[in-house]
Structures are given as C-alpha cells and as structure tokens.
C-alpha cells in the first residue's frame, strides 16, 4: 500500500481537532498542498491562513501558544525553518512554546519544481535549535502517530513530511515513541540507520545484502532529535559499521548527528548516503534520487564498500 505522509497528516489533524478544541492550525497559503485544507473545511473557526508570510505565521503561532493553544503551523519544508529561522529561534525555541511546525514537500522528491523548492537544509537548521523535538516519519502510519504524539506533548516540535505517495512499511499495530529507534530488521554485520523515505530503501538494500549472506540491521531513526543514543551505540558495538541514509545534505542532518554519538561512545567506520553538498535541479522524483545516489541500490553499494573498511 502506498500513501503520502502529508495525507496522513491532514486526516489526523482533523481527527485531533474534533477531539481537542484547543488545537489551532495555521498555514501560509499552501493548505491544499500541506493538507491542512482538510482542517480548514471541517473546523474553519480554528484555522487561520496567514498568506504568503511565514515569518508572521510563526509569530502568530507563538502568540497563540503563549495563550494556551496547541498550534500546528504548516508550509513547505523549504520555507520553514529556512524562511523564518530567527522567528522560530526567538519566538518558539527560546520560550519553548507549544508550536508544532509540520512541513511537507521535504527533500528532493518534490521533483520538478526544482532547487527553489527542494528542502535539503531544514534538518540542519531545526536540529541546531535547543528545545525542538524533530521527527521524520518513515510512512503514513508513523506520520499519523507522530502528529498525535506532538499534539499531546508540550513544547516545540518539527515534523518533516513528504510529497509523494510512498510505501507503507509499518503494520497497523506499530507504536511510535519519541526518541526511540525502531529495529525493522535485526542483523550483526552492519547497520543501516535511515529516516523518511530512505527507510523503505534501506529495507530493500538489506534484503539484497542478505542474498549474499550479509546480515544487515536496519534502524528507523524517526526521531532525529533527541536521537536514540542507546540504539546507535548498540549498533556500533554489535555490528561494527554504520551507514546512514537521508534525503538531506550530508552536513547537519541525520548522518552528522549519528556520527557524533558514534565518535563519542564507540567509534566504528561509517558511511553517509545523503546529498553531497550540491543543489538538485528539476526532474522526476525517481530520476533525482538516482542522479544523487539516494536509492536502495546506492545504500547497498555504500554498505558493501563500508564492509571492506570494517575492522574484524
């Protein structure tokens, strides 16, 4: 089954809004795309379209939150935190206000819209802010749960969602917990730690490696901040090599954060499947993933190459 994480967001938000009169939703003229439009139709009195003014939207979100509201503010991942970083820093992060910034159209799978719409720095920016919890769901099931948890938990959240329909990898009985990685496949030779759409690719790569007798562990690190330090250290100790995979720049995203923990707790060889310090151009999502080496095959190749560096 395939479903986009943003679709899951839109539906979940309406359900939560019906249950909780304290939820207020803001958007910056992208509600049809981010799917907050569903909320605006069902609960119009608690939806405010802020127009194409992301800085103002974040300030309004902060003011509502300071007055006791649980606020969801949405736009594309390229515009928040990028377009309104200082507003998020001073009006949300510093006072730890109850604002949930949920962005869609992250990474390069936005595709044809090109560089201006490819969000590849957002994790780096948002993870730099003290007090933010940062979640990148791997599929629609996890996205729905992450939104629910964000609504129930005090404090600033950033949830990064995607545009395209993607494979649903979790079963309905899956239970998302903030700060806990999910082991999707056990393994002892190497670990792939992935987020977002790359999780499904990591599983595919692991299956392919298994055919050659390589026993690969796969972790879904959906909470990028705070990271599940225990699961990472355990992977380093038990498998001795770690590949990270993310639809984001190499610097400042998942890979950098995992490497810090590995370096501190149990140094092992690592490799990073990520965008390599470049901007992508227009193209179909699949074409761009191939161009920038962000496919299951690329994860597999990277893992094989890393295994040759692994100390035995």
């Amino acid at each position: 089954m395939e479903q986009s994480t943003r679709e899951a967001y839109g539906k979940t938000l309406v359900e939560l809004g019906r249950q909780n009169p304290n939820i207020v939703v803001l958007d910056a003229d992208l509600s049809k795309s981010t799917q907050t439009g569903l909320f605006s139709k069902e609960l119009p009195e608690r939806f405010f379209n802020c127009g194409i003014a992301e800085q103002n939207m974040i300030g309004i979100a902060a003011g509502l939150a300071a007055s006791g509201k649980t606020v969801f503010a949405s736009t594309f991942a390229v515009f928040a935190p990028g377009r309104c970083f200082d507003q998020i820093r001073m009006s949300v992060a510093q006072p730890k206000l109850n604002v949930k910034i949920v962005t869609t159209h992250s990474g390069i799978t936005v595709g044809e819209d090109g560089t201006s719409h490819h969000a590849i720095e957002d994790l780096s920016l948002i993870c730099s802010l003290p007090s933010f919890t940062v979640i990148v769901p791997a599929d629609a099931i996890e996205a729905a749960q992450a939104i629910e948890v964000a609504a129930q938990t005090q404090g600033p959240f950033y949830v990064r969602l995607s545009r395209p329909k993607t494979l649903v990898i979790n079963t309905p009985d899956y239970k998302f917990t903030v700060g806990k990685a999910t082991t999707l496949k056990e393994g002892k030779d190497i670990t792939i730690i992935a987020i977002g759409i790359m999780v499904a690719f990591a599983l595919e790569a692991a299956r392919s490696l298994a055919r050659d007798g390589i026993d690969c562990r796969v972790l879904n690190m959906s909470t990028v901040k705070p990271l599940d330090s225990d699961a990472i250290t355990k992977a380093a100790v038990e498998t001795g090599a770690i590949v990270t995979a993310e639809e984001h720049l190499r610097r400042g995203g998942l890979g950098s954060a995992v490497a810090q923990i590995v370096a501190e707790n149990h140094p092992v060889p690592m490799s990073f499947v990520a965008l390599n310090d470049v901007y992508a151009k227009s193209g179909k999502a699949e074409e761009l993933l191939q161009r920038h080496k962000l496919t299951a095959a690329d994860i597999e190749t990277t893992a094989r190459s890393l295994l040759t560096r692994k100390r035995r």
Binding site: V24, E45, R46, F48, C50, G51, A53, Q55, N56, M57, I58, G59, I60, A61, A62, G63, L64, A65, A66, S67, G68, K69, V71, D86, Q87, R89, M90, S91, Q94, P95, K96
Partner: protein
C-alpha cells in the same frame, strides 16, 4: 479641532523640526480623562501629576540600571517612558501578584532593547522588588539584556530580535477571540524596528483578521542605531502606511500622558480594525545630553553622566 504644534529635535543634527498635526486624540486634555467616558479603565486614585512623578522615577531607574550594568539601551527606553507609564499605571487590567492571570491585558515589548524601561515599570508595579533592578544584565539575574519571557515575571514575550512582537500580539489577540475573552493586547514597536518586513506582514494580517483588540504603539523618536530614520531608511509617511494597511491611526505627543491615555481609551471604541498610535517622542527624553543623541541608543552613562542625569531628573 485643535491643532497641536510639537517641536521635536531632529536628532543628531541639532536642528529642530516643527510638526503640526491635527488629530482627534491630540485635542484631548486632562479634563477628558476624568470624564465619565473615560472611567472604564482609569484609576481615579492616580492623578496625572502622580503619574508624571512616576514617569520621572522610571527615568531615574533607567539611568541607574544601565549605568550600573555598564551597557544597555537608555535612549529608546527613555523615549517610551510615558507610553509605558500610561499603560501600566492606568490602562492595563493586570495583577502583579498573578502575572499569568488569563484575563489580563497583555503588554508586548517588541522593541526588546527597551527592557530597562519594562523592568523599571514592572518593579514599580510590584512584579518583583525594585532592588532587583540593580542586577540588570548580570550573571544569574532575572533581568536579561533584552526582554525574556522565561526569566522575568510580567514579561510576555522574548524579544530583542526586532520585528517579531506584532505577529506574536496577533496570536494573543486571536486566542482572545477564540476563548471569548475581552482582554486587550498592546504592542510597543520602535520606529527603526518598522524597517523589518515582518512588521508589515503583521500589519496586513491584523487588519485582515479585523482585530480590534490589538493596539500597536510606535515609539517614533526619529532615531535608530546608525542615525536618523530619514537617513538610514525613510519610514514616512508612517501614519499613512498604517492607514493604507487598514488600521485606525492616531498621532500623539508621546510624552503627553493625557494625550496617550485618551488615545488608548478611544482605541477601545474602534471596532473591526486594529489601532496604531504613532507616538512622537524624543530619544533620551528627560536627560539633556541624551536627548536626540543617537550615541545613547546603546551606550550606558558613565558615573559622572549618571550623576548629572539624576540631578536633571529630580
């Protein structure tokens, strides 16, 4: 309608600019303040003369605090003294013993560098001891260099990065509407701060949402850090800008308490749109060598200067 003439020194140049404007708010005198129309929020026990003394007290606090701290922003604190005094001694519905009271009126200091002024008035109203003012900007103090809602009782928003307060205020005003509460939101902006595009995003939004429970006050002291507004980034015509964005606009002499009080009272009667009060002020007001002197935007007075300033503020 009376036409007021206000002489405002054009800062940094020693020149004098004569300003003439004729506004409904400008014609009001002290007598209007005690009229039945004004009774809603005005505390009859605090006559204007008493408030003027309080204003002087606030000025002495600002000079002492920044002097003692060795840094800070006296100029833009002194210019907004009457604005803040009018609000905290007369207009605001608040309870210093219960700073988080949900029905309180909110005062949001968007120009966060005027924190010494806000701390002075909060201390005078009993949010914390006046003695604490001497800890401004020191390690472990609740009084941070710029306003910080996580540190200081009575501070509604963390500010200091300019341009963000009006947006925050809109959020607070929308929450009042959703919760069917009648509290009002007052946001103090600097004139230099209005260079920030976010102010105009917010100006557009406040009018779009028809928020008549929010009042923006611009401390129009004509000066910003690098020099006069007109040289750094021309703001004029500022009242017309707010009008064009759909606001009700009033201009007052920002050092005239009765004009300010009247403007705040009149704003309560304006329905369906927000009110902007352009308060013409003098940067460094009340201290001869700071008045209109751009150097005191972000510089503390020396020991000798403190002595002279306090002498002038007796």
């Amino acid at each position: 309608m009376t036409t007021l003439e206000v002489t405002v020194p054009l800062a940094g140049r020693g020149a004098k600019r004569k300003q003439a404007y004729s506004k409904a708010s400008a014609e009001i005198s002290a007598e209007a303040i005690s009229s039945p129309r004004g009774k809603s929020a005005l505390n009859p026990s605090a006559p204007l003369e008493e408030m003027e003394l309080k204003a002087k007290e606030l000025r002495r606090h600002i000079v002492m605090m920044t002097g003692k701290a060795g840094s800070g922003h006296p100029g833009g604190s002194l210019s907004a003294v009457e604005i803040v005094a009018a609000l905290f001694f007369k207009i605001l519905r608040h309870d210093p013993k219960n700073p988080k009271w949900t029905d309180r009126d909110r005062f949001i200091l968007s120009k966060g560098h005027a924190a010494p002024l806000l701390y002075a008035v909060l201390a005078e109203r009993g949010y914390f001891p006046v003695d604490e003012l001497s800890t401004l900007r020191k390690l472990n103090s609740r009084l941070q260099g710029h306003a910080d809602m996580t540190s200081t009782p009575g501070v509604e928003m963390s500010s200091g990065s300019l341009g963000q307060g009006l947006s925050f205020g809109i959020g607070v005003a929308l929450a009042a509407r959703l919760d069917k509460k009648d509290y009002r939101v007052y946001v103090l902006l600097g004139d230099g701060e209005c260079d920030e595009g976010q102010i105009w995003e917010a100006a557009m939004a406040a009018a779009h949402f028809k928020l008549d429970n929010i009042v923006a006050i611009v401390d129009h002291n004509d000066l910003q850090l690098d020099g006069p507004n007109c040289d750094i980034m021309n703001l004029e015509p500022l009242p017309e800008k707010f009008k064009a964005f759909g606001w009700h606009v009033t201009e007052v002499d920002g050092h005239n308490l009765s004009q300010l009080l009247t403007a705040f009272e009149k704003a309560k009667e304006i329905k369906g749109r927000p009110t902007a009060i352009i308060a013409h002020t003098i940067k460094g007001k009340g201290v001869s060598f700071m008045e209109g002197n751009v150097d005191f935007h972000g510089k503390a007075p020396t020991t000798a200067e403190i002595e002279q300033a306090i002498g002038e503020l007796k």
